[in-house]
């Protein structure tokens, strides 16, 4: 669909250089970090709130769907223009408007890259805490839409715990402010409900984030265990000892083998699990917690324990965890990365069942996950060149999600529902649960023009291949967290 009057109106709003409407160009706006694809009718690159407001008023008047895009790193298809229409790319709204080190806040535009906030405030010994795996590229606007997490959210919380307020343009072009500083503004916490709205409620055009002070010391531990059970027990006991680590990550046996095959880290090949633990704070507290952690691990017969608080050595301790993603490529050429959450204590049991599901389907599965908060990321390895293989991976993924719900967990811990999981929503929510969510959406977006086709089941199952995050493994060193 090429709507000439629409395009020329858009050009008059943002300038013709910033409207993309040629099919050859639009094709690169069909994807994000997931595998779902759809080509928008036109892409606009606004630079101001006023421009976004005009674009939305125009779309509202003409009943045209609008989808927003940050860096397009999302893993659930959140920024895919499934219904065509106008895609608004926020890649030009990258200004950090204000840094307030006294009040520990920064006001930024939505296109600002997550890590760039930390870089900009580093000189004040501050940082922005949520650290999604894509933090080098993903934008704060996208983080707000997906309520992004990261390995260090165990202690410090996810995006919603670090965003104080935002300026939002609504479906009809009206500009409102949600939340603000300080917290506990009178009124409903629309800020909190907007975060994680996956772009269906409005477009955040300014975001006020909370900054955190860098801890005096950060110490990383790597503990190698003979079996998964003793590693899981260690996790339980550490938390039982009243220690909340900044991060608590686990690598299972198959992942260890893959890492050793690809890029030896000195893990024993017959090790059952590697635990990575990070603690922070004043030297005295860190020392005390270190002793407690060490003795817990030793009592459970840990094979080896290494630790450091020097940045470079800590990086080396993390290397196995970070390189796991790439290393798993030795198992098969493709993978399906699943994101689900279970109560932490159910992990050993759920992991066994996941192994069973996958072995029944003859699919290797490795687990590298956030043990502290029960956020699982099973990586199902398969070879899409073999007929039926992708279908089996999808089947396993669905079974794993059902298992998570059965264990008292949820469908997604950090990737969002988007297109990928919308049809699974009834596993977790009753029709009544879903209709109050829809009612809430109505308040923001009565015409449902914003990011249609997301979150809610509509019976349109995406094509098999497109519904899962499939990718090829690489053989090089990777720096990706999963």
């Amino acid at each position: 669909m090429y709507d000439e009057p629409l395009v020329s109106s858009l050009k008059s709003i943002v300038g013709s250089d910033f409207v993309i409407c040629h099919p050859d160009d639009l094709i690169v706006y069909e994807y994000d970090g997931s595998v779902d694809k759809a080509i928008p009718d036109v892409v606009v690159l606004p630079e101001t709130t006023a421009q976004i407001s005009s674009i939305l008023s125009l779309a509202h008047e003409k009943n045209i769907p609008v989808v927003c895009r940050g860096a397009g790193t999302g893993l659930s298809g959140g920024s895919i223009a499934t219904h065509g229409g106008v895609q608004i790319s926020l890649s030009r709204m990258t200004r950090i408007l204000e840094i307030d080190p006294l009040n520990l806040t920064a006001l930024v535009e939505p296109g600002v890259i997550n890590l760039d906030i930390t870089k900009a405030v580093a000189k004040h010994s501050l940082y922005y805490s949520p650290d999604p795996s894509s933090q080098k590229s993903c934008t704060i606007g996208g983080n707000v839409a997906e309520n992004a997490g990261g390995p260090h959210c165990l202690k410090y919380g996810v995006t919603t715990n670090h965003v104080l307020g935002m300026e939002v343009v609504l479906e009809d072009g009206k500009v409102v402010e949600l939340g603000g500083y300080p917290e506990a503004q009178p009124g409903y916490d629309l800020r909190g409900a907007f975060i994680g709205g996956e772009g269906t409620l409005g477009i955040a055009t300014k975001v006020l984030v909370r900054l955190s002070r860098k801890p005096s010391i950060t110490r990383t531990f790597m503990a190698i265990f003979a079996d998964l059970d003793s590693a899981s027990t260690a996790v339980t006991q550490i938390i039982g000892a009243r220690i909340v680590p900044a991060a608590l990550e686990m690598i299972d046996a198959l992942a260890i083998k893959a890492i050793e095959n690809a890029r030896p880290m000195g893990y024993p090949r017959d090790a059952g699990a590697v635990l990575l633990i990070e603690i922070e704070g004043l030297a005295e507290d860190v020392n005390e917690e270190s002793e407690a952690i060490t003795s817990i691990c030793e009592e459970l017969g840990v094979r080896e324990i290494r630790y450091s608080e020097l940045a470079e050595e800590r990086e080396r301790l993390w290397a196995g965890r970070k390189g796991a993603f790439a290393a798993l490529g030795s198992l098969a050429p493709n993978y399906y990365l699943v994101d689900g959450v279970v109560p932490r204590t159910r992990l050993p049991d759920v992991l066994q069942k996941i192994a069973k599901i996958c072995s029944d389907l003859d699919l290797p599965v490795a687990n590298v996950f956030h043990a502290g908060d029960g956020n699982l990321h099973p990586l199902i390895a398969f070879d899409e060149r073999q007929p039926g293989s992708s279908a089996k991976a999808l089947q396993a993924g669905e079974a794993i999600l059902e298992l998570c719900i059965e264990a008292g967990g949820v469908l997604t811990g950090e990737h969002g529902v988007g297109i990928e999981k919308k049809e699974y929503m009834p596993l977790m929510f009753t029709p009544d649960d879903l209709s109050i969510m829809k009612a809430f959406k109505q308040a923001f977006s009565p015409k449902s023009l914003l990011n249609p086709g997301k979150i809610f089941p509509d019976g349109k199952k995406p094509t098999q291949k497109a519904s899962i995050r499939v990718g090829s493994f690489s053989t090089t060193d990777s720096d990706v967290w999963i």
Partner: protein
């Protein structure tokens, strides 16, 4: 849509299936200078690969619009550093240019530029030298001053004026390959061969001379064997692979005969091309694959070599605050970022201030500053803003193209900070110690 002939070629080219390693995760975006400047997905590594896929799958034609997105690529390979999936972007882009862009050069100006640069000048060094001499005469004789007078700039076509303004100043003497041996006065550690290359010896003679002195000071005899030529980098980047492979074979033959321990280059662009000669030369080429891999394993960047020997620390202090701009083909193509910083920090008195976004290209990128004037200028002004922020006395980098570009930026901003190649700074430190 019909499957065009060119896309078929692309389809068949070995190694091109690596484009499917890209899972469009987007981690490359923040490492891409052109994406950061334009905010357009088409000008990003992920977008450029998506266009390759779309052409390969015959979803779109390789139209001039599509080609323009590839042409705007600096080939700085910053995206390779960021890529978790190991997509060989540099190779894909070179191959795409070879298959799709090069055969389609249509405008007369582009054809002429292509012809003169890639077919005439670089493969045939003597011609380049003649041109260099002319330029030098033009700059030294006062002709430049006359021509830069307002009358002339008014009548000359504007593009020529721009080009003329960008012409780097030719400093000192030319440095040319010869049978000459530059002997060390210290206890001899070995002999190294130095690539004289094409542009370096012409425009940056003093850097070559400094390199020789630094190597001598560290106990190495230096030779720059005759018969060697340009490394072929510019040809490769422009997709002119056939000619580049001939140049590669010549260099391999010359250096392997020279009886040296290592082959060194002071130009990051040359180094990365030489280290990737294997990609250029397939089994059908007239040289044995053993020779190619021997050559590749012997090739090192000067910084990489110096930190490995290990470097002899200068005895006097050089009181100076400097900042370091990573050269793309050193940092991204050769993955060398620590060595230059180690060298700088080993010079007593040098204070190294990290440059914000030092891993982002300055916009030089070979002929980019000429053919993509607009973007190149934008990138340079961004770069200059960060350089000014550091308040450094001098800028250090490791590649001639970057030096020329940043010197232009310094000039435009009415600054007078010097821009050094890292060996020049080291040479400066050594030279003051000999005065004690």
């Amino acid at each position: 849509m019909t499957i065009s002939k060119v896309s078929n070629t692309l389809l068949l080219e070995p190694g091109m299936e690596d484009m499917y390693k890209c899972v469009h995760c987007g981690l490359c975006l923040s490492a891409c200078p052109t994406y950061l400047t334009t905010g357009r997905e088409m000008e990003s590594p992920r977008g450029r690969i998506a266009l390759m896929k779309a052409v390969k799958e015959s979803r779109i034609e390789p139209s001039s619009r599509v080609i323009s997105h590839w042409e705007s690529c600096l080939q700085c390979r910053g995206c390779e550093t960021a890529c978790p999936s190991g997509v060989p972007f540099g190779f894909l882009m070179e191959q795409t240019k070879a298959e799709l862009i090069y055969p389609q050069k249509t405008s007369l100006k582009q054809r002429f530029l292509h012809f003169s640069v890639f077919k005439l000048l670089f493969p045939a060094l003597p011609l380049l030298y003649v041109l260099g001499t002319l330029v030098k005469f033009y700059q030294k004789s006062g002709l430049q001053r006359i021509l830069r007078s307002r009358i002339v700039t008014k009548v000359a076509p504007s593009s020529l004026v721009v080009l003329e303004n960008q012409l780097p100043a030719i400093k000192g003497n030319f440095f040319s390959a010869s049978t000459k041996i530059y002997p060390t006065k210290e206890k001899k550690q070995g002999t190294v061969g130095l690539l004289s290359g094409c542009v370096m010896p012409l425009f940056q003679g003093p850097i070559m001379e400094a390199t020789v002195r630094v190597l001598n000071r560290n106990g190495f005899d230096v030779v720059s064997p005759p018969g060697q030529g340009c490394c072929g980098a510019l040809n490769v980047h422009a997709g002119e692979r056939e000619r580049a492979s001939k140049m590669a074979i010549n260099n391999i033959e010359v250096f392997l005969k020279a009886n040296v321990d290592k082959i060194l280059t002071v130009s990051a662009g040359c180094g990365s091309t030489m280290k990737e000669y294997q990609n250029l030369l397939d089994k059908s080429s007239s040289i044995s694959s053993e020779d190619v891999s021997t050559f590749v394993s012997m090739t090192q960047d000067i910084t990489e070599f110096l930190v490995s020997i290990p470097l002899s620390v200068p005895k006097t202090a050089l009181s100076m605050k400097v900042t370091y701009q990573d050269s793309c083909h050193l940092a991204h193509a050769q993955k060398i970022t620590k060595a230059p910083r180690e060298i700088l920090q080993s010079i007593p008195g040098i204070e190294l201030v990290e440059l914000k976004d030092s891993l982002i290209c300055c916009g030089a990128a070979g002929t980019y500053q000429i053919v993509q004037k607009d973007l190149s200028t934008k990138l340079l002004s961004k770069k200059m803003a960060t350089i000014i922020e550091t308040k450094a006395d001098a800028v250090v980098t490791a590649n001639p193209g970057c030096i020329i570009q940043i010197e232009n930026g310094i000039k435009q901003n009415d600054l007078n900070s010097p821009v050094y190649h890292i060996v020049e700074l080291l040479d400066l430190a050594y030279s003051t110690e000999s005065k004690i």
